[in-house]
Each structure stands twice: as C-alpha cells, then as structure tokens.
C-alpha cells in the first residue's frame, strides 16, 4: 500500500471497512466469558454514529477529544470517531491521578471526554469545573451510573442515537468529512510520560502514524489473518502503533481481554502472532516461569534446566551467527517438544512470529531467556516523537546489546556529542503550546532524542541511557545504571530496583521485593508478616536479597558491584510520581524524595527511619512510620 500525503487514518479506515465489510472480524472482545466478534462493518457503523453524534453535540473541526479507560472496542471507536470528525485524539492513562487528568484535559483544550465507566466519570466530574473548555463527558459502561444526573454527562448510546438521527438527515455528511482530511493534519496529541518534568504534548499527524506502521511492516510483514492482543494502555505510543498504524493498514484482528486481570489468560486463548510490550511484561513472564519452576517436582525442574541449557547454547550460536550443528539441532527439537513448546503455550507465545520490546532498557539475561525458549524477541528503539519506533532488529541478525538497524525511510545519525538524532517522515510536528521545547527537539528536521549512543561495526545502533542518567564510577568509567538494575530484576524476588552511585565511592541499590513471590517464599519458610512494609524489613528477606545481589555482582568489574543495599518499605508507584505511567524510574524525583535513604547508604548508619505519607489513586493518604535496614554486601 502506498502512503500518500493525501491519505489519512479515517480515509484508510473507510477503505478497509468497505473492503472487508461483514465478512471479516476487525476486533474481538471477551465479554461474559465469550469472545464476541465485531466485524469491519460493525466497526464502521459504530464509528460513524459516534462521530456524527459528536457533531450533533456541537463538535467542530480541530477540537480535541480525550479518552480514558481500559482497552476495549469502545475506546478505539471513540478515537476513530474523533479522527473521522476531523478532530484530534488525546489518550490518558487509565490510572492517572486526578491532577494529571486535569493537567492534560486543560492543557490540551479538550471539549469532549470519553470515560469508560463510573471510575473515569468520577475523575471527569471532579475536574469539570476547573476545566472551562470541557463540555461533555461520555460514558459507555452503565455499571454504577444509576445515580448520576448531571446534564453534561451523556451515554455513548445516546451519542450514537444522535448520530443516527443526523445520518438520516444528511446521509453523505460522514463520507464528506472523512474525505476532507489531509495527511499532514494533526491526528493525535500524545502526552509523553516525562521522566523529568511535566508531560509534553507531542503532535502527530496522520502521515506520521501511517508511514510509521508501513515502515515497520516493511521489515516484519504482518498478515491480515494475524491476531493481536491489545492490553497495554492506548496512552502508550507502542499500543497506538500496533492497533492503529499497523492494525488498520494490514487489517489484522485486534483482541481485547475481558478485564485487565485476565489479560494473561486471554493472550493464551488467542495466541497472538505479533506482540509489542515494554520490558516489564517480559520480565513478569520470566518471573512467572522461574517461580513455577521453583514449585515444580524434581523431574520437571531437571527437564527444565536441561532444556534451558540446550536453548541457551543454540541461542548463543545463533547470536554469534555460527551454524548450528545437526546434533544440537536434534537436541533443540527434543527440548522444544518436551518443555519449551508447553512453556510457550502457557505464556501465550506459541504463535508469535515477532515479539518486540522497547520503551525502556531490557537486560541481556531476560533477552537471552526468551531466545533460549525459541521466541523471536527483538529490541526496538523509538519514542513518542517518531510516532513509535525508528530502529529494530532484523530476524536472524539479533544482538542483545543493540537495538538493530533503522527501519526504511529513517535516517539515524550520531552528533559530535554522541546524541542520537533521527530524520524520517514519522518525525512529529512539534509540542503543543511549547515552542521552546519544540525548537530544542527539532533542528533542521532532525529529531534530537537526548539519548546517547553509537553505531557499531555491523551498523547496529547501541543506545546508552538518557544522557543525564549515565554514571561515572569511582574509577572514572562511564556506567549505565539501567544495566545493573535490569540485572538485579532478573531475580524473581526483586520487582523493582534503583541503583545509586554517580561519582560516589561505591554503588548502592534500593530494591523493592515482589510481594507475591517473596510472600509465598515467606509462607513456605514459616515467616509471619501482615503487610508489604513488614515483610520487606525481615532479616530473612534481607538474607534472600543479599544472595540475589551476590549472584548479580558476579563477573561485574569491582567498581560496578553493589556494595550496600536496602529494601524499600513500599513498592515504587506511578501514583507517587516515582515511576512514569510506563513504569520508568523517575531518578531525579526519587533522589530527592528518598534523600535520607541515600544519605544513610553513604554513611555508617545501618538503619534509616521513615516517617512519610503515601497517596492512593482515589486521593486518600496514609501515614507510614517504619525503620529500614541497610545491609552491606561488600566491605
């Protein structure tokens, strides 16, 4: 398919819906225990009526429409409807706190807000009077909505009814609107997660989105018979890339899980062909396998160990681009039929042709784990400002310390300062209402990423971390803390890690235990605990973590070894601003918030006293008082 400047997402949607009609399933949602299909025809009708309904409510071209809620067909319909009415879509993370919702709604000049159900509507109501431009809140899940009678609330059904009436009066209106658009118009206003400051709104055009999908599929073609499971937030560019940029172009089926808690189970039922998720999803899968393995019988454990060994050996040969001897091929086949195929089935990875990971650093341990299983996992490099990704591994040419080659139509250069800069048709239009930020990110059509990296001898891009995140060790060498953090996270007992030590004498780490896994371990070892806080401070848990750290410290240069650590009394949480909504550590923020802990880690203290408040999503606060131990690993 040719992506011309004339083509817009709605035009493509119109063509695809006409082409596939009632014969093909555009999306599926599991509802009441059954997978319910939505054909392209239904998809089209729904979008049309929502779109016209918005117009009946006074929607004007260029208006912003915000959406918040779980992944579900209605969410995608609302987005598509906004685009068809020549508006701009804005997605919010479902778990956004009220302040964040207010900031984005207000900053984006949103007039219409689509919320899923009561929870989202409540968030909308609480900010309604502070956001003067917001006019209507539209909801689709009637649960708990019986006592809401505000006149600015309207159900999706009513909106669609308005649309139907308008369609009867002006049957050509929808088509005319769709064909009025141009590829260079703004399609989405995407708020970046912002590891350092307030979120910035990146403006992405129709052309940005469509060329992005095209170029990715030039590398790894998808088929219209493929299945894709949409369960990561739509407010994450990766999900938009898969559901809109790729999904719409190729016409594969998008599957929505029943509830966020059932996502893993539903993925297994569907068996998707392509997958794109941030590293934490893959980390969770690894942890699940490791934990189940700890529980398994002796025979199963031995079989797993053996097949993993075979898997690792074969994967290493492939990484080194060496031929795999026949003997090893046979062993690999044996391992796959005895262990690995079943494991892949449980993880929902049986059909996966390409699995991508990006958005944050992924440790080589996790990466190798999946290749040993026979999963074609690839790293990507991208950002919201290029509408998704710009660099990806090619099948058969995978190196776990790189992110691969630029996709077609993309130029990557390294500036003299070592910054990665990108030029392509997917580079965004600028930041909304922020010319200074736009000017510093876009120079002569080159997108400046603020990431450091270099291009290796094979033409692969290697990305260091954010320039400001790179550490200087005591021996003067540069060091990326993420490398150590992901390494620590390979232990199933550690959920989050934060490594400290820039220009310090030694490296320290603040760790968050995995409550479930460590909790189970504690049950088995007859340790009593009542809360995360209590469990995290048990000396036995410290012993357990110390073992994990010693393991991670092996074969690291001395200066990069973790010398001291502490187990944090709570999990790091995006609601407390410690992580971004995509779960990246906000280093500056935690450094300030946990100053006391850092001071204690770099003094002789073996204890630090905590007296603080934490926030819940519904706005409540809780007071916490506890003591955190500090444990030395190296003298």
């Amino acid at each position: 398919m040719e992506i011309t400047k004339e083509l817009t997402i709605p035009k493509l949607f119109f063509e695809q819906a006409t082409k596939y009609g009632k014969d093909r399933v555009a999306m599926r949602e599991k509802e009441f225990g059954i997978w319910c299909p939505v054909t392209w025809h239904d998809y089209f009708e729904n979008v049309k009526y929502i779109s016209l309904g918005l117009i009946s409510l006074g929607f004007n071209e260029g208006d912003k429409v915000s959406m918040i809620g779980d992944n579900r067909p209605e969410g995608l319909w609302a987005e598509m409807a906004a685009l068809c009415a020549r508006g701009v879509g804005v997605w919010l993370f479902q778990d956004c706190l009220v302040d964040e919702v207010k900031y984005i709604i207000d900053h984006s000049d949103t007039r219409f807000l689509f919320g899923e159900g009561q929870e989202e509507v409540d968030k909308g109501l609480s900010i309604f009077h502070e956001c003067p431009k917001l006019e209507k809140i539209i909801w689709d899940d009637p649960k708990g909505m019986r006592n809401y009678d505000q006149d600015y609330l309207i159900s999706l059904k009513e909106v669609m009814e308005l649309g139907r009436e308008l369609d009867k009066k002006e049957p050509d209106l929808f088509k005319d609107l769709v064909y009025k658009g141009h590829g260079d118009e703004v399609a989405l206003l995407f708020y970046t997660s912002g590891t350092t400051s307030l979120p910035k709104g990146a403006l992405l055009s129709h052309n940005n989105m469509l060329t992005m999908g095209k170029h990715l599929m030039d590398v790894d073609p998808c088929l219209d018979t493929d299945d894709y499971v949409s369960y990561l937030p739509f407010a994450w560019i990766g999900e938009q890339m898969m559901s809109i940029s790729c999904g719409l172009q190729i016409g594969y089926t998008i599957n929505f899980p029943e509830a966020s808690e059932t996502a893993q189970e539903n993925i297994r039922e569907i068996g998707p062909h392509v997958m794109f998720a941030p590293p934490r999803m893959y980390e969770e899968m690894t942890r699940r396998v490791q934990v189940k393995n700890l529980d398994a019988t002796w025979t199963k454990r031995k079989l797993f160990e053996l097949s993993t060994k075979i898997g690792y050996h074969v994967a290493n040969l492939k990484f080194e681009k060496k031929p795999v001897p026949l003997y090893w091929k046979f062993l690999e086949w044996l391992a796959s039929i005895i262990v690995q195929n079943k494991l892949k089935d449980h993880l929902g990875l049986s059909n996966v042709r390409n699995a991508y990971t990006g958005g944050a650093a992924m440790g080589p341990d996790h990466f190798r784990f999946f290749h040993a299983l026979g999963v074609n996992l690839k790293q990507i490099y991208g950002q919201t400002e290029v509408a998704g990704i710009s660099v990806v591994h090619k099948s058969g040419d995978i190196k776990f310390d790189t992110v691969g080659h630029p996709i077609p139509g993309t130029e990557i250069k390294i500036t003299d300062e070592g910054e990665i800069i990108t030029k392509s048709s997917s580079v965004f239009l600028g930041y909304y209402k922020n010319p200074e930020a736009t000017a510093s990110a876009l120079k002569d059509g080159w997108l400046h990423s603020d990431d450091r990296g270099f291009i290796d001898d094979d033409g692969h891009l290697v990305v260091f971390d954010r320039t400001k995140d790179v550490f200087t060790l005591r021996d003067g060498k540069p060091f990326a803390p993420q490398y150590l953090e992901t390494r620590l996270k390979f232990s199933p007992y550690i959920k989050d890690s934060w490594v400290i030590g820039n220009k310090k004498d030694y490296i320290t780490a603040v760790l968050c235990i995995d409550y479930q896994v460590v909790g189970k371990w504690a049950d088995e070892n007859k340790l009593n605990y009542t809360s995360y806080t209590e469990l995290s401070q048990k000396p036995e848990v410290y012993d357990l973590i110390e073992k994990q750290i010693r393991q991670a410290n092996k074969d690291l240069p001395d200066a990069a070894k973790v010398a001291k650590f502490t187990s944090l009394y709570k999990e790091l949480d995006a609601d407390d601003d410690e992580l971004t909504r995509t779960r990246k550590l906000r280093r500056k923020f935690v450094e300030k918030r946990y100053e006391d802990i850092i001071d204690a880690l770099y003094s002789d203290a073996n204890m630090v006293h905590i007296d603080t408040t934490i926030n819940y999503e519904d706005g409540r606060e809780a007071h916490i008082k506890t003591d955190m131990h500090i444990r030395k690993v190296i003298d």
Binding site: F32, G33, K143, N147, A259, E261, T262
Partner: protein, 273 residues
C-alpha cells in the same frame, strides 16, 4: 383508607412475631418482633452473643423457634425447611464462609442456580433441545448478572479453596444471588475483610439493593458501624436476646441506651476511616 392499609401490608416482606428461642436454660431470643420492608436494607446490630445469628437461623429455617411466628410474604413459614424457604425466595450467606472449596467459582455459583433448573436428569445429561436452551439461559444469567457484577471474571475457573478470604466471601454472595432471591440475608459480610474489600462489598450490597435488575431486600448482621450507618434504612438493636430498639441510623446513633449497650464511646462510631 383500606387501600392504603392494603398497600402497607404488601410492603412487608418478612415478619417475625414474638419469637422465643432458647437452648436449654439460655434464652437466645426473648420475644422478638420485627417487620422487614420490601426494597430496604435492614441491619441487625448488637454485642457478641446478643442473638443475631440465632435470629438469622430462625428466619432461614435452620432453627425452629419454640414460640412465635415467622411470616414471609404474609404466609406463615415456621415449619418450612431451609431448602424450601430458598425456593420461596430467601438466600443467605454465612458468618464463616461456607463455600465448596474443591469446586470452581463457577460451579459454586451454578449450585445456587440449582433450584431454577426445570429439566430432569436424563434430558440434562443428553443436552436435549429444551434443556440445552435452559442451560444457555442460566449461563447467560450467571455471566451477565453475577460474574460481571461481582467482578470475578479472572477467577471463574479457579477452585474456591485456593482464593483469598475476601474473594471467597464474594463467591458466597454470588451463590446467594444465583438463587434470584427476594430477600438476601447477609451474616457479617464484612468480617475479616481489608479496607478495599469492605468498600467493594458495600458497593455490591448497594448495587443489588438499588439496581433495577435486582431490587433486593437485604438483612445485614454487621459489626462495622460505619458501613451499617451508611447503608441501612432501618436498624434493629439486640442485646441479650431482647430488641432494645429499632429505627433509622440517626435515631439509633442518638439513643443513649444503644450507645451504652453497644456503641460505647461516640468515637467508636466510625471504625474505619
């Protein structure tokens, strides 16, 4: 005037009349009379050993009072057995969950649906036309009305015994709802739950009481005063087998006798923040 009286009479779903119940020399209920109105949430409060659970058991037919009458929809049901009372439209949950631990969540709920099955063993086993249709209707009811309401999609195929206590309580509520009862008796539905689970459970109770689909009359035995005061329209206060008063939450809160007998200091009202 006659019509108004008639209306009033129809309004009363359940009535206890001068109930006496003793175990040996212990007088557990001493002449209790109360009326439960259609569509309202009633709570029964009182210190430990006041006779609350005995009263539930009398209503539900596990105990037969030595004296007095239990009337359901105007009919005396003193000698009707518990399973037959379930058929009349009475469902309950227990203080300590009484679920079938080895069975899945879905099977537990299906069991509650049992009284509504019309087809016999043979046509059921062979899945013949009519019973297949019936089966599908029951399935739709369980999925759409119960599992969706209680948000237990992710555990529907898990054995109940493996679930945390809070979820087991939810499953028990689901099983009671599967009966499609007219009156729902909840014996300490919030005991042993954490704050979040209490909030969820309170919301479910409100949902089945208010939602057009259900409009259930509820009787609640509960110690969590905050929730009792928020949810109930009518409160009965028991002490040593005697009803010391009944009234609206406000009346109960301001009654000095109740405060003395049960609530203690005013500060204890809201046991949860």
């Amino acid at each position: 005037m006659v019509a108004a009286n008639e209306q009033n009479k129809n309004d009363i779903l359940l009535e206890l009349e001068d109930i006496h119940m003793s175990f040996g020399k212990v007088k557990a209920l001493n002449g209790i009379s109360l009326k439960v109105r259609k569509g309202q949430i009633h709570s029964i409060i009182g210190p430990n050993g006041a006779g609350k659970t005995v009263m539930m058991n009398v209503i539900n037919g596990l105990y037969h009072p030595q004296k007095g009458g239990v009337y359901f929809k105007g009919k005396k049901i003193n000698h009707i057995r518990p399973y037959a009372r379930a058929k009349l439209g009475m469902a309950r949950t227990f203080q300590k969950v009484e679920v079938f631990g080895g069975m899945t969540v879905l099977d537990n709920i299906r069991l509650g649906r049992h009284i509504h099955y019309k087809s016999g063993i043979i046509s059921g086993a062979l899945y013949l036309g009519k019973s297949a249709k019936e089966e599908r209707e029951h399935r739709a009811f369980i999925e759409e009305e119960i599992i969706d309401l209680l948000e237990i999609e992710s555990i529907r195929n898990k054995p109940v015994g493996m679930l945390p206590y809070g979820l087991q309580k939810r499953v028990e509520l689901g099983r009671a709802l599967a009966l499609e009862p007219e009156i729902l008796i909840l014996d300490e539905p919030l005991a042993g739950l954490n704050l979040e689970e209490v909030e969820d459970m309170a919301r479910f109770i409100l949902d089945v009481n208010e939602e057009k689909r259900w409009k259930l009359t509820c009787i609640l035995v509960e110690h969590d005063m905050g929730v009792v005061m928020d949810l109930s329209e009518q409160i009965f206060v028991l002490n040593f087998g005697n009803m010391i008063m009944s009234g609206s939450p406000e009346e109960v809160q301001n009654n000095p006798e109740v405060i003395k007998a049960y609530l203690g200091d005013e500060e204890l009202y809201s046991t949860r923040g």
